[in-house]
């Protein structure tokens, strides 16, 4: 029994339902080491999440009254959102700069970004003591328009919608919805431009949240440039994650889930991504040095917190930046992969510093916040669930393989129409800005 494997064969609702049923079956092996480790953690995490909502946060989290935000905000939200930065950077390169070479990775990056927002920004719900009020800033049970968090909340929501629009043509292709795909694909550029704008603001906004924690954050980390630092670091953090996920994905997924051309072009793309990382990281490093010089905090470098700061800056920023540079120059992907992992660790530490490690650094160890095992399990469960969902989608939806033939034709047709509009434009005195939509060019 083969069922229906491609959407081309669907002609009726019954066919569609048979298709969906066959898609719901697991693809690939079930008893893999990753599954054996992650499944119990996800189950335990689920139980603990339920327990947290029934009993309140205190039953699950380590209550250190001096630390309002633990790892759910400091790690899941802060790091998760920075790691999702790859979506807006890649979308910028592919859709705005039209770097066609990178088309093969854009869906992977956007899918990862979208899921990151769903799961990691969604984890805010866990950390909101009065979570049932989460709709208040959206429905206007008072708008706190002076609040950075108000801005961030709205941008999370809008950006999730923008990312859903960006990735939606892939799902339309999977389900064989031709007309829907045509419509959704026409929204992509708009969604990308809005998405980049929203990302610029809320990536930096996450940093701006700490601006009022003035004396609570160690002076080596506190600067009025926190928003800018968060924004720039989200660029290389996101790209490092794309390098990481790409490397892993092109290895672990079955051959029929991955397009051969895509796989072959990956090493080349990887080098270019490494180059972009190296450049943004050097810019970030220079900015950090300027801030340090400007702040006249030299003396603090020779303290325990200073050593920690230097570890972060030298070992987890400058070192991977050089590794990226080396990999780019020698055309060798190995150092780039190592650099990507180091960069990710650096960003994790940087974000955790702001809410936990450099936050009230002066308190004795006994008063400091250390996450409880339950917080850690829930955090891992969320990350693993996201990986499961990512895998489920890549195994079904054309993310790492080429779209079906009809979708490619649809795309070419659109381009042709635009091309003709382009040819007509000078005669009609039109600019390309309106995409030639003023005249109906669909009529041949």
């Amino acid at each position: 029994m083969n069922g229906i494997t491609t959407t081309e064969e669907m002609h009726s609702l019954k066919d569609f339902l048979i298709f969906i049923r066959s898609e719901l079956k697991p693809k690939g092996k079930i008893l893999t080491p990753f599954n054996l480790i992650s499944a119990p953690i996800i189950l335990l995490g689920g139980v603990l999440i339920l327990y947290r909502f029934i009993m309140g946060m205190g039953a699950v989290v380590h209550n250190a009254s001096e630390y309002p935000w633990g790892i759910w905000i400091g790690f899941i939200v802060m790091v998760g959102v920075a790691f999702a930065g790859g979506a807006y950077v890649t979308a910028f390169i592919v859709y705005v700069l039209r770097g066609e070479k990178y088309h093969s990775i854009v869906r992977m990056a956007v899918l990862n970004g979208f899921l990151a927002y769903v799961f990691y920004a969604g984890a805010i719900l866990l950390d909101l003591g009065r979570w049932w009020n989460i709709v208040n800033p959206l429905i206007g049970n008072r708008f706190g328009v002076n609040s950075v968090l108000f801005l961030v909340a709205w941008h999370f929501l809008l950006y999730m919608i923008a990312q859903l629009v960006e990735i939606s043509p892939a799902f339309a292709e999977w389900l064989g919805l031709k007309r829907a795909r045509k419509f959704l694909a026409s929204l992509t550029l708009g969604a990308v431009i809005i998405g980049i704008t929203l990302s610029t603001l809320h990536q930096s906004g996450l940093g701006a949240l700490f601006l009022m924690a003035k004396w609570k954050i160690h002076p080596l980390w506190y600067t009025e440039f926190i928003p800018l630092l968060f924004f720039i670091s989200s660029i290389f953090a996101g790209l490092a994650v794309v390098i990481f996920i790409g490397t892993v994905s092109f290895r672990v997924f079955d051959k029929d889930r991955i397009d051969e051309e895509y796989r072959k072009s990956w090493d080349d793309i990887l080098i270019d991504l490494g180059k972009a990382c190296a450049i943004t990281m050097f810019v970030y490093f220079l900015l950090q040095v300027l801030i340090l010089v400007h702040g006249k905090n030299w003396a603090l470098l020779n303290t325990p917190m200073g050593y920690w700061y230097l570890t972060e800056l030298m070992g987890l920023l400058l070192l991977p930046a050089f590794l990226f540079g080396w990999g780019v120059k020698s055309g060798n992907p190995a150092p780039i992969r190592i650099a990507a992992v180091l960069t990710m660790i650096g960003v994790i530490i940087n974000r955790i510093d702001y809410s936990i490690i450099a936050f009230k650094w002066y308190l004795p160890f006994s008063e400091r916040y250390i996450p409880s095992w339950m917080e850690v399990v829930i955090t891992l469960a969320i990350v693993f669930t996201m990986v499961w969902v990512f895998r489920w989608i890549v195994n079904r939806v054309p993310i790492l393989r080429k779209p079906p033939q009809w979708a490619i034709e649809q795309e070419q047709e659109e381009e042709e129409i635009e091309g003709r509009a382009m040819a007509l434009a000078p005669q009609l005195g039109l600019t390309m800005a309106d995409g030639g939509k003023t005249i109906d060019l669909h009529k041949k």
Partner: protein
Amino acid sequence: MGIDRRTFLKGLGAGIAGIAPGGSLLPGRVEAAEAPGNKEFMGVIVDTTRCVGCRSCELACAEAHNLPIPDISDTSVFEKNRPTSETQWEVVNRYQTEKGEIFAKRQCMHCNQPGCVSACPVNAMEKRKEGPVTWDTNCMGCRYCMISCPFDVPKFEHNSATPKLQKCNLCWERLKQGEKPACVEACPAEALTFGTRRELIEEANTRIYKKPNEYISHIFGEHEVGGTGYLYLSSVPFEQIGFRSDLGTTAYPEYTKGFLYSVPVVLLLWPAFLSGVSAITKRKDNVRRKEGGKV
């Protein structure tokens, strides 16, 4: 004409905000100091040279707000420096100073322009026209106010499934009926004085002027973090009675002002810029395609 530049600019600003896509997302700003009704804020002087550490104020506070009643005859509490907590909106602490033991009560300072109010995404924290900073139940429990408070006052009921945020509200419910805060009324030593902030600063200055040997010449809260509703007098520098000396005189909301002002600029200019870049790259693509080249 009866329209001056300020009004015109205000109108223009409002107009732009309304036209812009996502107008509701643009940050508006209310200077709390000139907020509702131009009414003068009420406040309290804490004269630490008069406080005897009897903790009557703690008891009165707990009674007024249905909090656990403290045993005020127990002096062992002074052995440790106590912060305010979710069950204690105010606490009296004892400090060893160069002039011996000094008692000072701590509670919300009721800033003129509070960091917590500007932090709150749902305006659950509010600066009332009478002066108190109050909390409301539309709160989401995000605890950004706790990150943003220069005095670390707001406390969260972590261990409840329906947690509330607990902090001194300057007895707002009593103020509305023309009564004084419970702590002020309970103080037997006249260490606490209630009044409008302007009157209080005059009074505080008078005390310093009349008895220069008993006070240092500094009213804590007159300028700190842009001014606070609670004002402190002391015979020793304020670091010795548990205050930070590095708070500065900038109102806390000012720290995020620059970022928030950049938001409408980015929201308007970024899409325009990106559309422009996109139009250029598209044109290039098309030219190349026309010439028969590969894209």
